[in-house]
């Protein structure tokens, strides 16, 4: 956490508003579920593999609900102070600076804790009082308790797939959220997403999606995680810019997902089989 970031937080909450509609294709009923959760003030957990559109979905929902979106990327060193806020030394006095969570609670933003399992356990506990019907955020250091405004919504994302057993989300945390499950979009939809994201023609997008499916078959057979829609979109973008499809897939699909030479060769052969 740098001071620049914290300073930034003190600026306008408006900068967290999403003004342009992000592209998102609903796969099932996730939009409806999310809206209902929002109106009933139920915190939401988005489950699913990396790069399948969780973050994009939250952005879309924030846009639709016209709420600011504050995203906190969780990591091992993220402390409770980092999210709640802390005293800062300014000149010869200490000044309280709200953390992103406090900001969201006060302004009724959607607070999105991305990859929440990565956060330390003591940090995760901070959000607990916000997730039940009290909807409060105790700020220990100030001896305050803030009640969340009605529009505040807590969203976490969680990828049950690849983390080690040490990073399993605790039941006490899990059971405070309504869960919406995400997976890679179905074929037709993924083709449309790729076309939209990259401007690729239908045939090329189809081939990329086929590649995606084949590579995802290898999950648990040596791959921790299948290739994400995001990576396919990168590959599509490269192809669109005139890079040879095989090279594009090498750079945007194979290299990012594996360091294992055998696996590398296998996926290359799959790429070669799909792209003439």
């Amino acid at each position: 956490m740098t001071t620049e970031r914290l300073k930034g937080l003190e600026l306008e909450i408006d900068q967290y508003r999403i003004t342009q509609e992000p592209f998102y294709l609903p796969v099932r009923n996730e939009v409806e579920l999310f809206r209902t959760a929002y109106s009933n003030r139920i915190p939401v957990m988005l489950k699913g593999p990396t790069g399948c559109g969780k973050t994009r979905f939250v952005q879309q929902m924030a846009y639709q609900l016209k709420r600011p979106l504050i995203t906190i990327a969780c990591h091992e060193d993220l402390t409770a102070s980092d999210v709640v806020g802390r005293y800062l030394l300014r000149g010869d006095e200490t000044v309280w600076a709200d953390g992103p969570l406090t900001l969201a609670v006060k302004h009724g933003a959607i607070c999105y804790l991305d990859e929440v399992v990565e956060a330390r356990k003591d940090t995760t506990v901070v959000i607990h009082p916000l997730t039940d019907d009290r909807r409060i955020l105790p700020i220990e250091k100030k001896g305050q308790v803030i009640e969340a405004v009605d529009e505040f919504m807590l969203v976490i994302s969680y990828n049950p797939g690849y983390q080690s057993i040490l990073k399993e989300l605790k039941q006490s945390t899990k059971q405070r959220f309504m869960a919406i499950e995400f997976d890679y979009p179905p074929r037709e939809m993924e083709i449309r997403i790729l076309q939209h994201e990259t401007g690729l023609g239908e045939a090329a997008a189809q081939s990329l999606v086929k590649l995606g499916e084949k590579v995802r078959n290898l999950k648990n057979h040596g791959l921790e995680e299948g290739v994400s829609t995001r990576l396919l979109a990168y590959a599509g973008a490269l192809i669109q810019k005139g890079i040879d499809p095989r090279s594009a897939c090498e750079a945007a699909v194979i290299q990012p997902i594996t360091d294992d030479p055998d696996m590398h060769r296998s996926i290359s052969e799959i790429v070669n089989s799909i792209f003439p």
């Binding site: 030394l89 499916e213 078959n217 057979h221 296998s266 089989s273 799909i274």
Partner: protein, 1008 residues
């Protein structure tokens, strides 16, 4: 009437002698014969007789008695030579002469008349000094091969004479054996043959010559040499043997025993010659460099295999030998390892020479490729893993049973490995295509009408008690099931290839390349019998859509092709293939009615294949059964086994009856999801195959230890050969066992008597547990303000100075992240008693382990206890007393109690295995503690080799991020530990009894 004896009356010395020795009739006969001789001969004869009678009267008696017969059968000159030789012998030994006179007449009678005189003349020469061998010499006469002329005979004798000059024993053997040998080699090679034999004579322990080897050599020679064909191979064979025997009689002998067998393995004389000449090159290099001659023996054994493996390519073979020779110049030990096939360099060289691609090197790539494409778990295995019975029918063709794809273990069809890989890839793709496009899961419900039609048409309805289960059952409804099967194979392959080409445009080019090569070797349609021609045409059409059908078949082919095209559609399914089959079968059957000879064709091009079902299902129609191989298909298309194509139906699940699979189901392959599990368990393929001695659930009293039955996984480990400076690949075989708990006195005693010690230990080790958090002061950010820092900062500020901005306290979590494995030497020497403690070493070790286990339990570090012993490289036993995943409980104590002193110890292998297990622990710090009581010692594992291998194994462990630590309780260990443990930290405990006290201390020290 003139008296015939008148011209010569026998001299008195003769009449007097004969009067004593012979009856009257014999005397008369002798005198008459003598009288018939020409005067000059007669006088010579009488002179000789006189001399003989005067020197050796006893021998002379025998001579005189046989003289008549000699004179009557032999020419006068021969007779004189005979007598001359006898006289010469008798001057040296009367007994020998007597023997000569008695036995030689018969021998000479058998000898070729033209050869008698030379033989006797040479014998005379020989008798001078070597009368002892003359009889053997004469005896050889009749046995000499017909082609031996006088000159040859002389040469033969002279070789013997020379030998006799040196060694009479050898000369006797020579004359006994050489006539037979002369059937195999020319006289000119005799000296070589003898020379080799002379090298085999070595002084024995008493300093006297040891003839055993040479006699064996001589006696086996005729057989050995006759086994070498063609005859011109024999000289180089002997030459190589001579070079070898000169260096070492033992090696020479081993060569003579094994060489011919090895040479016979080569079919071509050219290859035999090359093999020998290369051997000679090696032998010469060894001689000139004074290297170990046994390398040549290694060469013979290993080289022949390699020569076969590289398909007798002379250039490649010479390259292989050259590589070995260059090693020989640098490091003879490595060369020995190279030629004996023990070295990695050797194997690599061979692999390179053999060329092609090995399945094992790319099977993972192919597996992932197939799994990716088909979206299923797939196991790729070499066809050599197929049950033998199945292999007989399908050979090395690729095959799949729906989950396992069997591929040839090596493809070297093309000079270029890219092409070989391409073929592997296409084969995998095609087989994976069968899986992806549902070949093995046709839908019975969509087949019912066709099945009924076929059954009705051919009158072979499926029996009611056994519904159709597999495609094989379906083919059984046709009059010729084998033909139906081969047509189906063709249709289904065509359908799958069509799908593949549509789905994966990238493979089209690869497939086209393989097909183009394949088609070159397809038979031309012209001249094939109609049925085979149509089949061939369809096969070509199935992939290229063009063929050149003979005119009279054009209609048939085009009709069949129309049917085939119905499957070359994106919507076509495996069920469609089976449906189209019925139509194609009927269509072709009708068409073939036009060709009268088709009906007579019993088995054109081996259309009928023996299917495992034939024996039971079609016993009534023996004409349908054939044994010919299946018609060859395209190289990347494998054999499909209709038994594995199981109908599925939505109505009812068809029960699987394993007995129905004639050849039995394929050996079940492990599901790939559980692959990691398999690694963990160590249940390797080998484990399944090895016939491991039952490790027993029985509690036989003879068993040293009670092991839990767990299918004993087997592992193979390399071993370091210090002298050759390389690994011996897969040298040692390690069996993993679990010890069955066994209550023992030592455990109870330790637990009860060490009560206070245990409590102390627990407390000490508990204190090692790190605090959950540690406060880090003066951080730039953190959970709390650091009051001291804030006050300081305020002071600074008041004083107008810029304060430090590190004002926070941060709580940091610290983890103790240590995993430890104890590896205990359980060799026989641990049974040694320790005087001071009235216990034996292993008991002290057990005591130490029990305490250690308690201490570790207190600190919470994951730990494992392993023991090892063994007997030779093929049996290294690795005992799991406590694995990382086992909880510490009474059973573990009892397992520790069940440890026993066993056999030998091959430390390196055990270290490698323990390290491999430890490596899988997620802990940051991984510690391997080796507890040994002496030098490693095992069969073929002693001295420097064992020290160096152990050192190497420890080094490997370090390289894998493991910290090895060695504790030895051998008082004399200081002499070798530094050599063995090298840079690895170690300690010597000289008072064994203190081990239980010291072990936990050492551990504490290591981990704090």
């Amino acid at each position: 009437m003139p008296d015939p004896i008148q011209p010569m009356s026998p001299p008195p010395f003769l009449t007097g002698f004969c009067g004593k020795e012979m009856d009257d009739a014999s005397q008369r006969a002798l005198f008459e014969t003598i009288a018939a001789l020409a005067p000059s001969d007669r006088s010579t004869l009488l002179e000789l007789l006189e001399e003989l009678l005067s020197t050796a009267p006893k021998a002379a008696a025998a001579g005189v008695r046989n003289l008549t017969r000699i004179l009557q059968t032999l020419a006068p000159a021969q007779s004189l030579a005979w007598l001359d030789l006898g006289t010469s012998i008798s001057s040296q030994s009367s007994t020998a002469a007597q023997k000569y006179f008695l036995e030689s007449p018969d021998l000479l009678a058998m000898t070729d008349p033209a050869r008698r005189l030379p033989l006797l003349t040479l014998g005379l020469e020989l008798s001078d000094g070597h009368y002892g061998v003359v009889m053997d010499f004469i005896r050889a006469g009749p046995q000499l091969p017909a082609g031996i002329g006088t000159a040859d005979q002389t040469a033969w004798m002279e070789t013997g004479l020379q030998l006799a000059e040196e060694d009479l024993v050898l000369a006797v053997e020579y004359f006994r054996i050489s006539p037979e040998v002369l059937h195999q080699i020319p006289v000119a090679d005799l000296p070589l043959w003898v020379q080799l034999g002379r090298h085999l004579v070595r002084p024995n322990a008493l300093g006297k010559p040891d003839y055993l080897k040479v006699i064996e050599y001589f006696r086996l020679s005729p057989e050995t040499l006759s086994g070498l064909e063609p005859a011109d191979l024999r000289r180089p064979f002997l030459e190589l043997g001579t070079v070898l025997a000169r260096k070492s009689a033992d090696d020479g002998m081993a060569y003579l025993r094994t060489g011919p067998t090895i040479l016979r393995e080569f079919d071509s004389p050219i290859h035999r010659r090359l093999f020998l000449s290369e051997g000679r090159r090696l032998a010469d290099a060894i001689t000139s460099g004074s290297r170990d001659p046994s390398i040549v023996l290694d060469y013979l054994r290993e080289g022949s295999k390699i020569f076969q493996a590289i398909e007798h390519n002379p250039t490649d073979f010479i390259t292989w030998v050259d590589a070995g020779l260059s090693l020989l110049a640098k490091n003879p030990e490595r060369a020995k390892a190279y030629f004996s096939g023990r070295s990695k360099t050797g194997r690599d060289t061979t692999e390179r020479l053999i060329g092609g691609i090995l399945l094992k090197t790319i099977s993972r790539t192919l597996t992932l490729y197939a799994e990716g494409l088909s979206g299923r778990s797939i196991v790729i295995r070499p066809t050599t893993d197929l049950p033998a019975k199945l292999r007989e029918t399908i050979g090395d063709s690729p095959a799949t049973d729906g989950r396992t794809i069997y591929l040839p273990d090596r493809i070297r069809l093309f000079p270029n490995d890219d092409d070989n890989f391409r073929l592997y890839k296409m084969t995998t793709l095609h087989e994976a295509g069968h899986l992806e496009f549902g070949t093995y899961e046709p839908d019975l419900d969509k087949m019912k009408d066709v099945i009924e039609t076929v059954a009705a048409e051919y009158g072979r309805s499926p029996s009611s008690d056994r519904p159709l289960q597999t495609a094989a059952d379906y083919f059984g409804l046709f009059p010729n099931p084998s033909w139906a099967r081969s047509l189906w194979t063709l249709l289904e392959d065509a359908r799958v290839d069509f799908h593949l080409r549509a789905e994966y445009p990238g493979v089209r080019r690869d497939m086209d390349q393989i097909v183009a090569l394949d088609l070159q070797s397809r038979p031309p349609l012209e001249g094939l019998p109609p049925r085979a021609a149509v089949h061939e045409a369809l096969l070509q059409l199935s992939i290229t859509d063009t063929t050149e059908a003979p005119l009279e078949l054009a209609e048939t082919v085009s009709g069949a092709y129309d049917l085939l095209l119905e499957l070359k559609k994106p919507s076509a399914t495996a069920t469609d293939s089976l449906r189209v089959l019925a139509r194609l079968y009927r269509f072709l059957e009708e068409q073939f009615r036009r060709f009268p000879n088709v009906r007579g064709e019993t088995d054109p091009l081996g259309m009928q294949e023996k299917s495992p079902d034939d024996s039971t299902e079609q016993a009534s129609s023996p004409d349908q059964r054939g044994t010919a191989p299946s018609p060859s298909t395209l190289s990347y298309r494998g054999v499909m086994h209709p038994d594995w194509v199981r109908f599925h139906s939505d109505d009812a699940t068809v029960p699987v009856d394993p007995a129905r699979l004639g050849s039995g189901p394929l050996p079940s392959a492990p599901r790939s999801e559980s692959r990691d599990q398999i690694l963990q368990d160590g249940r390797t393929e080998a484990a399944a195959k090895e016939n491991i001695p039952d490790s027993g659930t029985k509690t036989g009293s003879t068993r040293p230890m009670d092991l839990e039955a767990s299918g004993n996984p087997v592992f193979f480990y390399d071993e370091w050969d210090e002298r050759a400076q390389e690994y011996r690949p897969k040298w040692c075989r390690l069996y993993e066992h679990r010890i069955r708990p066994e209550s023992s006195l030592i455990v109870q005693q330790t637990l009860s008597s060490h009560g206070p010690v245990l409590r102390l230990l627990r407390r000490r080790f508990q204190s090692l547990r790190p605090e959950a958090f540690r406060k880090m002061k003066r951080q730039s950010h953190g959970d709390d303000l650091d009051l001291d820092a804030v006050i300081e900062a305020r002071t600074e500020l008041r004083n107008g100075r810029t304060p430090q901005d590190t004002l926070y306290i941060r709580n940091e979590k610290r983890l103790r992240d240590v995993a430890v494995a104890f590896l205990i030497d359980m060799s026989g020497s641990t049974s040694r008693q320790i005087a001071s403690a009235r216990k034996c070493v292993i008991e002290v070790e057990q005591e130490a382990l029990i305490l250690m286990a308690e201490a570790l339990h207190a600190v919470g570090d994951p730990f494992a206890i392993y023991g090892f012993s063994g007997d030779s490289k093929d049996r290294v036993d690795f005992y799991i007393i406590k694995d990382f995943s086992d909880a510490l409980n009474a059973a573990i104590h009892e397992r520790i109690g069940a440890m026993r002193s066993l056999n030998q110890n091959r430390d390196g292998t055990a270290i490698r295995h323990a390290a491999a297990k430890l490596e899988r622990q997620p802990a940051k710090t991984r510690l391997l503690i080796l507890l040994s009581d002496g030098k490693p010692l095992d069969t073929g594992y002693a001295g420097d080799h064992s020290l160096q291998d152990t050192k190497r194994a420890l080094k490997e462990a370090r390289r894998r991020g493991i910290h090895p630590y060695c504790i030895t309780i051998d008082q004399e260990a200081s002499r070798y530990v530094t050599e063995m443990y090298g840079e690895v930290s170690h300690t010597i405990i000289d008072q064994v009894a203190t081990l239980p006290d010291k072990l936990p201390r050492i551990y504490r020290r290591l981990t704090t």
